[in-house]
């Protein structure tokens, strides 16, 4: 049994765009643990919403950001928030915005492989390979 994707498309797009907007605002001055926790929760939502709608590349972009910010949250000391990484996160979110526009126009998701690869390098764990299991 499945559901009609079109029934949820607009509410998905509105919700995902709102999440991306809030994540971009957070990145402007992210430092405190509470901001990192909130960003992690938003990345988790970005992933979950996209995957339930069947948009795997946006889902995996959310997953990669979720992994990175969980690592920062747990303060394992290896990963740092620096300007270079923040720029990569901002560009990733812009790619997600473009992918959402593409879904709105054509009902098709753009390929975000390059975006995910860059995040994967920071995360230090395989993300793209999850495409095989979802």
């Amino acid at each position: 049994m499945t559901f009609d994707l079109k029934e949820y498309k607009q509410s998905y797009l509105d919700s995902a765009r709102s999440l991306v907007d809030q994540m971009k605002i957070l990145l402007e001055s992210i430092n405190e643990a509470e901001d990192i926790k909130t960003f992690h929760r938003f990345a988790h939502s970005l992933k979950s919403q996209a995957l339930v709608m069947g948009f795997q590349y946006i889902g995996l972009t959310g997953r990669a950001l979720e992994v990175i910010f969980k690592e920062l949250l747990d303060n394992k000391g290896i990963m740092k928030i620096d300007a270079e990484n923040i720029d990569i996160y901002k560009k990733a979110l812009t790619s997600v915005e473009n992918a959402l526009d593409e879904i709105e126009k054509n009902d098709e998701e753009a390929d975000l492989t390059e975006t995910i690869k860059k995040l994967e390098d920071i995360a230090g764990v395989p993300i793209l390979s999850l495409l095989k299991i979802i």
Binding site: M1, T2, F3, Y8, S11, Y12, S15, A16, T38, H40, R41, H44, S45, K47, S48, Q49, L51, V52, G59, R63, E66, V67, L130, I134
Partner: protein, 122 residues
């Protein structure tokens, strides 16, 4: 049958609530763990579907509170997991959850079976 969905994401709240209402369930939603506990103390659901990552009180906090409550601890809890939360699911099951469903990969048939199976653990 009464189901309480504890999930902070409004889109997923609405998605799951709509799907379950269409299949005859009486569904309420709570935005976080604290509100979920308040709701359960007001009206006991037959099943709690619980997200793990929520603001104010997360799913693990809810499970710990339920285990201390002689009235609510017998309400079966089904975890909402997503991709990458395998270790979290194990931790939640150790804390008393009776079942789980991967909310990222929606399969209504599987969800309905999981709901029945989890409620039967009561």
């Amino acid at each position: 049958m009464k189901i309480l969905i504890a999930e902070d994401d409004k889109f997923l709240q609405n998605f799951y609530q709509t799907q379950l209402i269409q299949h005859g369930f009486d569904v309420k939603v709570a935005d976080d763990g604290i509100k979920a506990l308040e709701s359960m103390r007001g009206e006991k659901p037959d099943l709690l579907m619980l997200d793990l990552i929520m603001p104010n009180m997360d799913g693990f906090g809810v499970l710990k509170e339920l285990s201390k409550d002689s009235v609510l601890k017998n309400i079966p809890v089904m975890i909402f997991s997503t991709l990458g939360q395998e270790s979290d699911v194990k931790k939640a099951m150790d804390l008393g959850a009776k079942g789980y469903v991967n909310k990222s990969f929606f399969d209504l048939d599987k969800l309905l079976i999981n709901i029945q199976n989890t409620i039967q653990t009561k």
